[in-house]
Symmetry: C2
Subunit: 393 residues, 2 copies
């Protein structure tokens, strides 16, 4: 009588996690240098020196105070440091009371969905999309409604979104810079999306929340990343330091409920309640302090930009098709056969670990995480050549 | 259209958390030394030196590997270290595959309930009980069934439990050493409970899970703490290092699904699925390594034993009635009026922060956390005297 939904989620881990686990085993078997693991978004850039410095300083303070529970929403000075950074960077009137510290963006998104949805509501996503959105939406008892992005820009298709938003819609999730395609939503796109949502709110006489998943906000290659709360009031930002500070395993991030939402205070209360319901007592406290101290540390985007150049030039020379990424550290590559799963399986024969697109909501593509060692990218090119040749034999 | 249940949980934080927050504000107002804060279980004993030593060593290693994602269930060597410790200490055949690392016991319990329950199931608790059990049980769509403990032993009332277990029961939660009363369940009690559950499983033709919440396992004053998985097969241990290693804010613990359960492998899979559904990507990785390294570190029980002696002797001399605690670091004291909330409110006038019993499922008592500075306990005695005198005026 175990819960079969939970059993199913445990028995079929996300395709990304499954490939990541396969990679760990395969590396143990044939040597890490012989596996080209493009599976997971584990940053290859080390955390900024200030992270270590902050942790070392902290460890010299009173351990009782250091490791004590924080209030559920986070340490007050940490929340204020983050609010201040949002005010300074984006010119919006952010207050500490609207910042809720979380164990990463995953927790932030799961909590946000639970806070603004009811069972049997619909949550809209733009495909291709991060596969775990489905897990968290369904865990809240809601239904996923997929709306394909525009082609070939991968901007949100506002008209198509408008067509699916109805009385059961509670929220739309967007993710820019985007995982998996690397698109950065333009101001124009976001303004059109915001205008449509405002119209729909009037038409449906209900609030519509925009959950903005932003772990890659700092990782862009020149494109402007407009701040969503300054464009649409009822925005809930889900942020993570996993990528910006290269701390994915530490689980630290936050929810920021826009102060420009007329119900922002109430939403903040519901966020706190949802965190409590999901078993989050407080975000890890040492990491809360690291986040506050490093709140304005720049990300080492140059390293990813160079990886991007090497990978795209290499694949381009081999004749692969892909979407030119404006942000994040993923390359969305056209599979060499219609069945992306079969393509990903075949790639394994060449020790290439690339994620098939099906769980992102579309067929025929693969995702390559290029936040990996540069050397791995360079050495993988013969494998990509051999993979391609295998389709031409 | 925010979720009113989540709003309610956020708007009325747990009574413990509310009192804790009041205490923080009051200390800022009149000075920390003037507030006698018995509200929360924030250990006053510093973390063992090995915690800092392990963190310092870790910080000298490659930051990319150090802070990377771990597999969802935890680092393999960490899971193995914990399984080995369980085997050695308790003589049960624990395997790493049944250990799932979590962000503390709260996450462990929320995940366990979700893994073995369905909506509209009933989960049984022994009152008085930790109030958040209700939050997590209801978050899984289930109903709380409260069964009072025996009086005055505060052992589980097996007959009364048998009377409420029916076709909708998925699990029973026990907590020994117990928060809030400090009772330690005897082998005899646990064997009677196990025998009853096994009978009910046959009668009802369904598995019944025993969720054993054990954050205080190491904190006892001489009483034997039998290892529940060695007594009942279908046991799910929810453990936390918050108290044993004085790391409550860091959020590290685990679920251990007994290897003696015939469906233990399947339950472990469902645990992993439930963790995923609730947004837990992996437990904080630095802390996973700390847990493994400190897995056999002794807890500084002597400090709590001395606090217990001073507090119980002091209150006894003043004529307060309380339950003699065998474990954990809570004292369950009879309120001086029927309404525990009114009593707790009146105690505030004397700067005494003590938690009323109602949210633990019973009226007329208060809980005192004595994991606080010894000095605070000593200095609080005149306040307890004045509180008592105020009822005698």
């Amino acid at each position: 009588m175990i819960n079969e939904t939970m059993y199913g989620l445990g028995d079929e881990p996300s395709v990304i996690r499954e490939l990541f686990a396969y990679g760990l085993a395969r590396k143990a078997e044939i040597g890490a240098e012989n596996v080209y693991d493009y599976s997971i978004g584990n940053p290859s850039v080390p955390a900024p020196a200030l992270v270590k410095e902050t942790l070392l300083e902290m460890l010299e303070t009173d351990p009782v105070a250091l490791h004590a529970y924080s209030p559920s929403a986070g340490l007050p000075d940490v929340r204020e440091a983050i609010a201040a950074s949002i005010r300074e960077r984006y010119g919006v009137p952010a207050t500490a009371g609207h910042v809720y510290m979380t164990a990463g963006a995953a927790a932030a998104i799961a909590i946000s969905i639970a806070a603004v949805s009811h069972r049997d509501d619909e949550v809209v996503v733009v495909s291709p999309y991060f596969p775990e959105y489905r897990t968290w939406i369904e865990a809240a008892g809601c239904t996923v409604v997929e709306v394909p992005a525009c082609q070939p820009s991968f901007q949100p298709d506002v008209e198509a979104l408008a067509a699916v938003i109805g009385p059961k819609t509670s929220a739309v999730i967007i993710n820019s810079p985007n995982n998996p395609v690397g698109a950065v939503y333009t101001r124009e796109s976001l303004e059109a999306l915001a205008a449509m949502l405002r119209e729909k709110e009037v038409e449906l006489d209900r609030p519509l929340y925009l959950i903005s998943d932003e772990p890659y906000r700092e990782i862009t290659y020149g494109a402007e990343v407009p701040y969503v709360p300054s464009i649409y009031g009822r925005t809930i930002v889900c942020y993570s330091y996993s990528k910006a500070l290269s701390l994915p395993g530490e689980r630290i991030g936050y929810v920021y409920v826009s102060d420009l939402a007329d119900d922002g205070d109430a939403v903040s209360v519901a966020i706190a309640g949802a965190g409590r319901a999901l078993g989050y007592v407080c975000a890890p406290v040492m990491l809360q302090r690291v986040a506050a101290r490093c709140v304005n540390e720049p990300s080492d985007v140059a390293a990813y930009a160079e990886n991007r150049r090497i990978l795209t030039e290499g694949l381009s020379a081999l004749g692969y098709e892909y979407v030119e990424p404006d942000g994040a550290f993923y390359l969305w590559v056209k599979a060499l056969e219609d069945d992306a799963n079969a393509f990903s399986e075949r790639a394994k024969q060449f020790e290439l670990l690339i994620v098939p697109s099906d769980s992102f909501g579309v067929g025929g593509w693969v995702r390559l995480s290029y936040c990996i060692a540069r050397d791995t990218i360079e050495r993988s090119m013969p494998a990509f050549a051999a993979l391609k040749a295998s389709y031409e034999g």
